[in-house]
């Protein structure tokens, strides 16, 4: 999808945007660890948050790498 980006557009590409969304949701899930009363509940929230953070980070870094390589090619 990164090649969909309009030429001359220096903003974030689709992967970076999706990555940011997942990271934000992951952070909220990690913060939500305080909510459940049981340890198992806290651990489940933490696991879900970490998985979302990991997916988001991978998408963000891959998108950033594509954007930088695209900018170098354009130059």
């Amino acid at each position: 999808m990164e090649d969909m980006k309009p030429k001359g557009d220096s903003g974030p590409n689709p992967l970076e945007v999706m990555g940011l969304f997942w990271i934000a949701l992951g952070i909220i899930m990690v913060v939500a660890v305080y909510a459940p009363p049981t340890m198992f509940g806290k651990l489940t929230n933490l696991a879900a948050g970490v998985i979302l953070l990991a997916i988001g980070l991978i998408a963000l870094l891959k998108g950033r790498a594509k954007r930088i390589s695209g900018e170098i090619e354009n130059e």
Binding site: M1, M4, V17, M18, I28, A32, A35, F40, A48
Partner: protein
């Protein structure tokens, strides 16, 4: 019903999806961008978007309820009822749709057979998709009302505004990319529910032990021939051989993503990767249904309460919000895909094909956007009247789908596989198949068998009429029929040179 942190997660999800969806507006310049994402979708986006589109709120609520009621036989809807057909779709159907350069399945049929076949198919699918839209809106209102407590009309309004705006502005690109985001949330939520469930029941062994005490058939994948809903023969003939291939090979909302692929390889790989993901889908609702059966002290009065029970009694605060966001994701992804597909069919196969044939491209882009807004308003307004006027509207829609899915599959299958199939064969097979399914339905036959026999009837009528009428000229069929590609000297030479070149 849900706590403060859960509500915060749900509101964040709604706002976030809206913002991400609207971001894709800058990619839309032509009607091809709007309807087919500029034919730039990559395989993994296609695969995830297909699954996101396929999973609806009914799969969650109804599927969990059915699993509670009949056990893992419900998973057949995802396994035998999807995966073989998806592989066939990827290898046999998708390449021909993609090569034909069509925007819709009816458009392919128009090229292969004739205008009347295209228009009839477009009217059937176009009307069906608009009705589906109204049902999805109602389901979203009900879901938000059940879990958050907001009025149904407010839930419908939120869905209409959020999904409507990003679909109008971003077209298929926004639809496909938000589907990717939403599927990731659904899968993370599904895995979390599975982990908690297995922890509660004592692992797989504990689940089987607790459930089979009173329900020995709940771990049988095939149920007896006299079973009311899921007889094994009906599952194989009706679901496995007709309904499932018809859905995965001919449903516009499913196929449209592959038509927006950047290459034929991406189109096929997208469908195959969706088949892989499909294996995981029972995790989202079949397992929760079984967990409830194992954990609930008293039997539930309504089987569709299985999933709400699981959320209320099994999930901790935070995760409950994420799973509810996954529900909303399921419904948003179904609404946006149905909306986009309905607009594509009505614009390309009806408006552009029959009324305004040679307008500038911008005209069709603007018409598509305008029609999207009209369908959003229409779907929201029809949501209540359409759903409450009929008893069991979902079953009514399933029945309606049964009327034309078998004949559609037979028409497409013969169109791709048999060069001798003619325009008259296609038309009479389609109409004869629909007439057969309506007649059989009136006799009270199980819908799985209706699908099977209407498919067989359409196949036979198409074949007989084709043999009695003049063959189609070969030039017309080039690139649209399987046999011709194998015999096409130009294509074969091109393939040979690619093989020799090490591609």
């Amino acid at each position: 019903m849900i706590s403060g942190i859960d509500l915060f997660i749900v509101i964040f999800f709604i706002v976030g999806v809206f913002v991400v969806g609207v971001y894709f507006k800058k990619f839309i310049h032509t009607s091809e961008d709007y309807f087919l994402a500029g034919r730039k979708l990559t395989w993994w986006v296609i695969g995830m978007s297909i699954i996101g589109t396929n999973i609806g709120s009914y799969d969650y609520v109804g599927g969990a309820g059915a699993a509670y009621d009949v056990g893992i036989a419900q998973a057949n809807y995802e396994w035998i009822g999807a995966i073989p057909a998806m592989v066939i779709s990827a290898l046999l159907f998708v390449p021909y749709y993609w090569r034909a350069g069509a925007y819709t399945v009816p458009e392919y049929l128009g090229k292969r057979y004739s205008q009347p076949v295209r228009v009839i198919e477009a009217l059937l699918w176009g009307s069906f998709l608009v009705c589906c839209l109204a049902i999805f809106f109602w389901a979203s209102g009900l879901m938000i009302n059940t879990y958050v407590g907001w009025p149904i009309w407010l839930g419908i309004l939120i869905t209409a505004v959020v999904v409507g705006i990003y679909t109008v502005t971003g077209g298929l690109t926004a639809v496909a990319m938000t589907d990717v985001i939403q599927l990731a949330i659904m899968l993370v939520g599904g895995f979390a529910v599975a982990i908690i469930g297995f922890h509660e029941v004592g692992g797989w062994g504990g689940l089987v032990e607790k459930v089979t005490v009173e329900h020995p058939d709940h771990f049988r994948l095939f149920l007896p021939l006299d079973h009311d809903t899921y007889p094994w023969l009906g599952m194989i003939l009706g679901l496995g051989l007709v309904l499932s291939p018809a859905w995965w090979c001919c449903h516009q909302a499913i196929i449209q993503r592959t038509l927006g692929a950047r290459s034929e390889w991406d189109a096929k790989a997208g469908m195959l990767s969706a088949a892989f993901l499909k294996m995981l889908v029972p995790l989202l609702y079949v397992l929760p249904g079984l967990f409830v059966l194992a954990l609930a002290a008293e039997p539930l009065s309504d089987k569709d309460q299985a999933l709400p029970w699981a959320i209320k009694n099994m999930l901790p605060a935070g995760l409950a919000g994420l799973v509810f966001a996954a529900f909303l994701a399921a419904i948003f992804s179904s609404v946006d895909s149905t909306l986009n597909s309905a607009v594509t069919i009505w614009t390309r196969d009806i408006y552009q094909n029959l009324f305004v044939k040679k307008a500038p491209d911008k005209h069709y882009l603007n018409f598509g956007r305008g029609l999207t807004m009209v369908f959003v308003v229409l779907g929201a307004l029809l949501a209540k009247p359409l759903t409450t006027s009929f008893e069991g509207i979902y079953m009514a829609m399933q029945t309606l789908l049964t009327f034309f899915q078998g004949p559609t599959l037979a028409t497409v299958l013969l169109g791709i596989m048999w060069a001798r199939a003619t325009r008259w064969g296609g038309l009479s097979g389609l109409l004869g198949g629909v007439a057969c399914s309506v007649t059989l339905h009136m006799t009270g036959m199980n819908f799985l068998y209706v699908a099977w026999w209407s498919f067989v009837a359409a196949l036979i009528i198409n074949a007989i009429v084709s043999l009695l009428t003049k063959p189609e000229p070969l030039e017309k069929l080039r690139g649209l029929v399987y046999g011709l590609v194998m015999k096409d000297e130009h294509v074969q030479n091109s393939l040979s040179s690619r093989v020799e070149g090490g591609e």
